[in-house]
C-alpha cells in the first residue's frame, strides 16, 4: 500500500477519541472516593477528626500529601503527551519534599530529646505501612491506565509520577484515620510508604507504558 493510500484510509477514520484530561478526572474522582469510603468502612475516621482538621500540625500532613498528589497528577497528565517528557519540570515535587524535611527539623527541635524516639516509632507504623499502599492501588492503577491511553515518551518517569500521585492521595486519605500527629512519625512512615509504592509504580511504568 502506498503512503498516499494509507493517508486516505487513516483520514477517513474520524472516530472521536476521549481527551486524556477527561479520562483522568472521570477515573481519579471515583478512585479516590472509593479509597476514602473503604477506609471509613474498615478502619473508620479518627474520632476527633473535626478538631484535627483545624489543628495546623495535624492538618499539615493532609496538605503536604494532598499537594504532592495534585502536583504529581498534573505532571502525569503532562507526561501522557509525547512532548511532555521534555516539558515536565520535577522541582514542584522537590519543593514538597523540602517542606516535609523542614517540618521534620522543626519537630525534632520542638520535641524533647527523650520523647523523640517514641515520636518517630509511634504505635501504628505497621498499619500505616500496609494501609497506604493498599489505598494507593486504585488511584495508581487509574493513572497508569490513563498514561497507557496517552503516548508517553518517558515511561519510567511517567510511572514514577503516577506512583507519587496515587500514593500521595492515598496518604492524605489515610491521614483521616491516623492519629499520629507528630511530623517525626508521619514524614517518616508516610514517606516510606509513598516511596515504596512509587518504586513499584516506576518499574511498572518502565515495562508497561511503551507503545
Amino acid at each position: 500500500m502506498k503512503t498516499d493510500d494509507l493517508i486516505r484510509a487513516i483520514s477517513a477514520d474520524t472516530l472521536r477519541q476521549p481527551q486524556l484530561r477527561t479520562m483522568l478526572v472521570l477515573g481519579m474522582l471515583p478512585s479516590l472516593v472509593i479509597a476514602a469510603v473503604a477506609l471509613w468502612l474498615v478502619l473508620g475516621f479518627r474520632a476527633d477528626i473535626t478538631t484535627a482538621l483545624v489543628t495546623p500540625i495535624s492538618l499539615a500532613r493532609i496538605i503536604l500529601t494532598g499537594v504532592l498528589g495534585i502536583f504529581a497528577t498534573r505532571l502525569a497528565l503532562l507526561m501522557a503527551r509525547p512532548e511532555g517528557g521534555q516539558l515536565a519540570r520535577l522541582w514542584p515535587l522537590a519543593a514538597v519534599a523540602a517542606a516535609a524535611f523542614g517540618l521534620v527539623l522543626w519537630a525534632y527541635v520542638a520535641t524533647p530529646a527523650e520523647a523523640r524516639q517514641m515520636a518517630v516509632v509511634g504505635k501504628t507504623m505497621t498499619k500505616c505501612l500496609v494501609t497506604i499502599p493498599l489505598l494507593s492501588v486504585l488511584p495508581v492503577a487509574t493513572l497508569l491506565y490513563v498514561l497507557r491511553q496517552g503516548a508517553t515518551t518517558a515511561p519510567m518517569r511517567a510511572g514514577f509520577v503516577a506512583g507519587l500521585a496515587g500514593s500521595g492521595f492515598a496518604a492524605a486519605i489515610y491521614a483521616l484515620h491516623c492519629t499520629e500527629d507528630s511530623p517525626l512519625f508521619y514524614v517518616t512512615w508516610y514517606g516510606l510508604a509513598i516511596m515504596g509504592v512509587t518504586l513499584v509504580s516506576t518499574f511498572i511504568g518502565a515495562r508497561s507504558l511503551r507503545w
Binding site: 500500500m1 502506498k2 503512503t3 498516499d4 493510500d5 494509507l6 493517508i7 486516505r8 484510509a9 487513516i10 483520514s11 477517513a12 477514520d13 474520524t14 472516530l15 472521536r16 477519541q17 476521549p18 481527551q19 486524556l20 501522557a80 503527551r81 509525547p82 512532548e83 517528557g85 521534555q86 516539558l87 496517552g150 503516548a151 515518551t153 507503545w211
Partner: protein
C-alpha cells in the same frame, strides 16, 4: 515556515473535531517532512524500508492524535512521536540510532518521488486482516471510495464502517509492529 506551522495547528484541531478533509490535508502536509526525517536518519534501510518506517510513524500519529492538546504547538508533539517511533522501528530492525530532536528543523522535506515506493510490509499486513476489514481498507485507501459508499457496497451502516475502519487500522498498527519484531 512559521506560517505553515500555524496551519498545521488549525488543521489538526479541525481533524480532532471530526473533519476528515482537514485531517487528510494535515497528513499530506506533514508526510514529506517526516519522510525527510526518516530518510536523513535511515538511509541504510533503502527507500522502501524508510517508507515502511514512515508508515509506522503515521499509524502512531493516528492512534495518538488525541494526545495533542489544542492550543499547544504541533511540531514538538509531532517530532516527539516521530522520534519515539523511528527509534523503535530501528531497534526492531536491529539497528540503533541517535536522534537529537533539535536536528529535525534542519531536515529538508522529501517527496515520495515520481514512482512512490510501495511499502512492502503493508500489503502483507492487509492480507492478515479479516476479509471485511481488508475490503474496507482497500476501498477507502486504494480506491478512494467514501465511507458512505463503502457502507452501501458492503450493506453496512456508515457508523458501522467507521467503527470497523477504526478497529482495522488499530489492528494493522499492531500487526506491523509484531511482524517486524
Amino acid at each position: 515556515m512559521a506560517e505553515q506551522g500555524d496551519a498545521w495547528e488549525q488543521l489538526l484541531m479541525a481533524a480532532n473535531a471530526g473533519d476528515a478533509r482537514a485531517y487528510g490535508r494535515f497528513l499530506q502536509a506533514v508526510t514529506p517532512v517526516l519522510r525527510g526525517i526518516v530518510r536523513a536518519k535511515g538511509g541504510s534501510l533503502g527507500e522502501a524500508g524508510c517508507e515502511d518506517v514512515l508508515q509506522e510513524v503515521l499509524f502512531a500519529i493516528h492512534l495518538k492524535r488525541h494526545t495533542w492538546e489544542a492550543g499547544s504547538p504541533v511540531r514538538p508533539w509531532l517530532y516527539s512521536i516521530t522520534r519515539y517511533k523511528v527509534v523503535d522501528a530501528f531497534r526492531a530492525r536491529g539497528r540503533k540510532i541517535d536522534m537529537p530532536i533539535d536536528d529535525f528543523a534542519d531536515v529538508l522535506a522529501a517527496d515520495a518521488g515520481p514512482d512512490p515506493t510501495d511499502a512492502a510490509d503493508m500489503e502483507k499486513m492487509i492480507g492478515m486482516l479479516d476479509g471485511r476489514s481488508a475490503t474496507i481498507i482497500r476501498k477507502i485507501g486504494l480506491e478512494g471510495i467514501s465511507v458512505a459508499e463503502t457502507g452501501a457496497a458492503l450493506t453496512m451502516s456508515e457508523g458501522a464502517v467507521r467503527v470497523a475502519l477504526h478497529r482495522a487500522l488499530k489492528t494493522l498498527a499492531i500487526l506491523r509492529e509484531r511482524h517486524v519484531k
